[in-house]
Symmetry: C2
Subunit: 389 residues, 2 copies
């Protein structure tokens, strides 16, 4: 064999080497392209799209968590698909269809377990994060003896997971330190139809929104023995029932002093909660029904997007003065906001305009626009290091 015949091989080896090359993973992210079952891999330093990964199934309402080394994205699809994507090589490592209908996922503190919350059949399944082999399952049979949809699944410190039983009206706290022997604490009668939940930034409180009645359900994870407390009895009061897909998300409340800023259900307002008393302190008028109300890292600014028909706007509130200080129009159908971890930029997905828009949070200047096919969720790798995300 002559050198000429070997050259293509050498070239191939070098190319295998070079693309994609050695690089850090701290400034990467994935963007869900919901209509086509793809994710874009993006980077936030040069603000560009690195590539796409296809074949992820039905990605409407998809969520993503990351491995603790920030290399792998676990994508939970609405169709029950769970796909492990290598964001470095931009390929699918493994894909399983784990249920008929899923609504979210989480990863354990030690990174070993990936959990998926299921609508149909209900319950939570746990998978080895390396292989995606199922290692445990917690069926969601409520006190009423019936199976329940599971929603509001988040990880909690100490390899625990918290979730709500939508139909049964319960919060369950599962200790998965030993996955072969889950230890489940059940809190029953916590309210009707808990539909979404969050963990506060100090990882202490689990707060579930109630679709079937007013108020919120609060569990102190540092003192679970105190049980679940009902807070904000007036929250959502007097509203007509809205379809679930229009309910606001509870993730990512903004905070200032001991005040939390949350979406007002069915109102054109952001509600200010005094977290010392867990009562409503004020309401801030905004441009529409808030969907996400999220605090900018390191700042007292709160960013808000809205439900249809006001979903072309994004508003920024100064939490100190409780005033709207800026209204942006990134595009049509704004579904999601994601901050870079230290808050200098925010990425916005405008589904109906088919683009991502990146802003400088200091001066609201548009830094770039990137084409994206009906983008919804944007998830940056530093989420790997956060509890309850």
């Amino acid at each position: 064999m002559r050198i000429k015949r070997l050259l293509p091989l050498v070239f191939l080896l070098m190319q295998g080497c070079a693309t994609p090359g050695l690089r850090g993973t701290g400034d990467l992210g994935v963007v869900v392209e919901r209509a086509t079952g793809k994710v874009q891999v993006v980077e936030t330093t040069g603000r560009s799209v690195l590539g796409e990964v296809a074949g992820l199934g039905d990605l409407s309402h998809a969520t993503v968590v990351f491995s603790r080394d920030e290399r792998y994205a676990y994508v939970f699809g609405r169709d029950g698909g769970l796909t492990k994507v290598d964001v470095l090589s931009r390929r699918i490592v493994k894909r399983v269809v784990q249920s008929g209908n899923s609504i979210g996922g989480a990863i354990s503190t030690d990174g070993k377990l990936v959990a998926a919350a299921n609508y149909m059949p209900g319950g939570v399944k746990f998978f080895n994060s390396d292989t995606l082999e199922q290692v445990a399952e917690i069926p969601a049979i409520g006190k009423d003896g019936k199976g329940s949809k599971v929603v509001g699944l988040v990880d909690a410190p100490g390899d625990r997971f918290v979730f709500t039983l939508y139909d049964a009206g319960e919060i369950w706290l599962a200790d998965m330190k030993d996955p072969t022997h889950p230890v489940v604490s059940k809190f029953t009668g916590i309210g009707k139809e808990p539909y979404d939940a969050l963990i506060t930034p100090n990882s202490r409180y689990y707060v579930a929104g109630l679709f079937g009645e007013n108020g919120l359900a609060l569990l102190d994870l540092w003192h679970p023995e105190k049980g679940v407390k009902r807070i904000l009895g007036d929250y959502g009061k007097g509203e007509q029932r809205l379809p679930v897909y229009k309910m606001p998300h509870l993730e990512g409340w903004g905070f200032y002093d001991h005040y939390a800023f949350v979406p007002g259900v069915g109102h054109h307002e952001v509600v200010v909660i005094d977290t010392n008393t867990w009562t409503q302190a004020a309401a801030i008028p905004v441009a529409g029904q808030p969907v996400f109300v999220v605090g900018q890292p390191g700042s007292h600014r709160i960013w808000v997007n809205f439900a249809f028909p006001d979903n072309g706007a994004v508003q920024v509130i100064d939490a100190a003065t409780r005033q709207v200080i800026k209204t942006l129009q990134p595009g049509l159908g704004v579904l999601f906001l994601e901050f870079t971890p230290r808050g200098e930029n925010v990425w916005v997905s405008a589904r109906d305009s088919g683009k991502l828009v990146v802003y400088d949070t200091a001066d609201f200047k548009k830094l770039t626009e990137l084409p994206s096919d009906k983008p919804s969720g944007i998830f940056f790798t530093p989420r790997a290091h956060k509890i309850g995300w």
Copy 2:
């Protein structure tokens, strides 16, 4: 040329490819081996040492910050050396000796500027994070017209940096959005000899410890127009002056509700501060003079190490009950504690025992020991995503 002659080349290319291979950077860290001018590169998933990088100069009291992609560690040596280390390939990318004597560094929110605080000559120098070329300098000439040592340097949101002038007793807030035109706000007469500082976890307050008198100096970064406030007038009161190298560090206070837990200067106690009033609420007796008092992420546990002669112990306080719940003996000369970002493990450096000790924070079980040559600071890459670290 025949294939035999080409094979070594092919092999070399493949090897260049393979070592070190493609991997995520979210679970990496560097450990300062102070006596030998080296850093170890470690990973926290399998808990192992991946390799060493030598030639970093005098690393006593060295600190480290990371690039926003988590690939590069910037190591600030006591000798004024600033070294950029690629933690993936484990080699030095660039090294400059930027001053005669340095005490710390920081990196801007956008990741473009690396800043070094200097003792000799005083002032802060700013470097392009890619090339380490100097792009700006702020000489530290106090109101008294004299040059001052600079300490307590941290980054703040919006490409700002905060630092103290030790000799002049001032706090400076530098806006480096345009590095060619630094905008510096100066707060004078803030107290005698500010020797160290921190930013609180919500990135709001800059708190400087005073070596020359009692109390602490507090700057609200969200409202700098309100000026610097003196708090905790009794903090350190009645103490003999101690050598600076025995002063406690202020980084990483623990928090519970609105209480902060900080080292008691010269006392065998951890001081509890009510952050609503910024007054002392309690004091918790501990095994020695605290050096670091750090909150475990996602938890109400506070970990403490101690000055000589009690520097073989580490104590854990339950912030809810304000009781010491555990005393560990990791080894001799415990200098530093670093938590994995979600708090499931803590890494401890025991300088005089020549080892790193890793604990499970849930049950205090020792998970592993790793040999290390007089280790001091331990810095994990997720620091890249934090403000004021």
